[in-house]
């Protein structure tokens, strides 16, 4: 699923436009794996496993792999459908410099949800 983020975001012109002032990298933790998501003017340049301990981003978003697997379903169950719902339920964590996240919160929520298949009907 995580491999879909780049293409799904970049194919969504409206989402890229909403993120036009976002140029940074953040860490996305999926279970024990950390990925560095690099964004340039709203487009996702790369999503790569974190290879070196010194590689980091402005902020980090982490949850268990089972949580992300549910999050990326077409209709996730409650507490798993949204990053803030996951925070409220205590099953996700955010760290680092939260300012750019807050300044573009809906954009980042939509980037995270980009791999989600459309719901039917």
């Amino acid at each position: 699923m995580i491999n879909r983020i780049r293409d799904r975001v970049n194919a969504n012109a409206a989402l890229v436009r909403r993120g036009q002032y976002v140029s940074l990298a953040f860490l996305l933790g999926v279970g024990e794996e950390d990925y560095l998501v690099t964004i340039d003017k709203g487009r996702v340049s790369s999503v790569e496993p974190r290879r070196l301990a010194t590689v980091t981003g402005r902020f980090t978003i982490r949850a268990a792999k089972t949580v992300w697997d549910e999050f990326w379903k077409p209709v996730p169950k409650r507490n798993h459908h949204d990053l803030w719902a996951m925070l409220a339920a205590g099953i996700a964590k955010i760290d680092g410099d939260l300012l750019p996240l807050m300044q573009n919160l809906q954009y980042f929520k939509d980037v995270l949800a980009a791999p989600r298949p459309p719901r039917e009907g």
Binding site: H81, W84, A85, A88, A89, L99, M102, L105, Q106
Partner: protein, 283 residues
């Protein structure tokens, strides 16, 4: 002929805690007064679907008003030098002042989120002024999970961040049309207003220690909460119901924190039986 909706909007003047307030009020229908209270950082438009539903307006006079600082109601004079902060006492007195100004006799009061909380305070303090209360997404206690300061600061767009904070409170099943209309209201809210409301919702309004004192024989209490609500969760709603003897709680499947505005077609299946029961059983 213009295609008017049945909703009529006007302004009413009232005094709350020494402040003269110009209040925007909307209403539709005839019958038992049903006062509707919007959520934090929003306004009366959340209730527009109820006001256009003859199954409701044939029996109820549905009335919604924008709290001071919200929607088309002005903030009080001198607002520029005040920090807006909603307290339990101010909220309760604002609703009572509105009902007096409108000469409403024992209305049903229905509120959502912080409105769902305050109706429980009303039921405790002023049961004889009410026919019944309906708490949508209303619990006697919730637990904060973010810092309110993010909602009002110069380096973060207040409207955008307020909407983005609550966007996950809309259920994934809700139609996109209504999801984004619900969030638009948050984007339009005045600076610091959502934050000031949450002071009541997250801190000042807790009263799980007093909610067991509510007498549902004097004022019936209905609790309806959405499955996808992450602040007033189904568990917190059921815990509240267990503390308020005689209250009736329902978990609405496939709905989030904004039932009346995010999924009006689904919500009416849950609210119509409640309104019918009140009409049929409460004098």
């Amino acid at each position: 002929m213009p295609e008017f909706e049945p909703i009529v909007g006007r302004y009413v003047r009232l005094n709350v805690a020494g402040d003269d307030c110009r209040i925007h009020v909307e209403e539709a229908g005839r019958g038992i007064p049903l006062v509707c209270l919007h959520t934090a950082g929003a306004d009366t438009r959340q209730y527009r679907h109820l006001m256009c539903d003859p199954a409701i307006t044939d029996h109820y006079r549905v009335i919604a008003f924008d709290l001071p600082w919200h929607g088309k109601s002005n903030p009080p004079l001198g607002w520029r030098d005040r920090e807006y902060r909603l307290t339990t006492d101010l909220y309760v007195e604002t609703i009572r002042a509105f009902c007096r100004a409108m000469a409403l006799a024992r209305p049903v009061v229905m509120g959502c989120s912080m409105g769902g909380r305050v109706v429980l305070h009303l039921a405790l303090k002023h049961p004889d002024e009410l026919r019944a209360v309906i708490a949508l997404e209303g619990a006697d206690r919730v637990e904060p999970y973010y810092e309110l300061d993010w909602l009002h600061r110069p380096d973060v767009h207040g409207g955008e961040v307020c909407a983005a904070f609550v966007s996950g409170q809309v259920a994934p099943q809700s139609p996109d049309e209504y999801r984004w209309e619900t969030l638009w209201l948050y984007m339009q809210s005045g600076p610091g207003v959502f934050k000031g409301d949450l002071y009541f919702y997250w801190y000042d309004g807790h009263f799980d220690d007093r909610s067991p004192k509510i007498d549902t024989a004097r004022c019936p209490v209905y609790l309806l909460s959405g499955e996808y609500d992450s602040s007033c969760t189904p568990e917190r709603t059921e815990a509240t119901a267990s503390r308020i003897k005689g209250s009736k709680a329902t978990v609405m499947e496939g709905i989030g924190h904004f039932p009346m505005s995010e999924n009006p077609a689904l919500f009416r299946k849950y609210i119509l039986p409640v309104l019918d029961e009140i009409r049929g059983t409460v004098r």
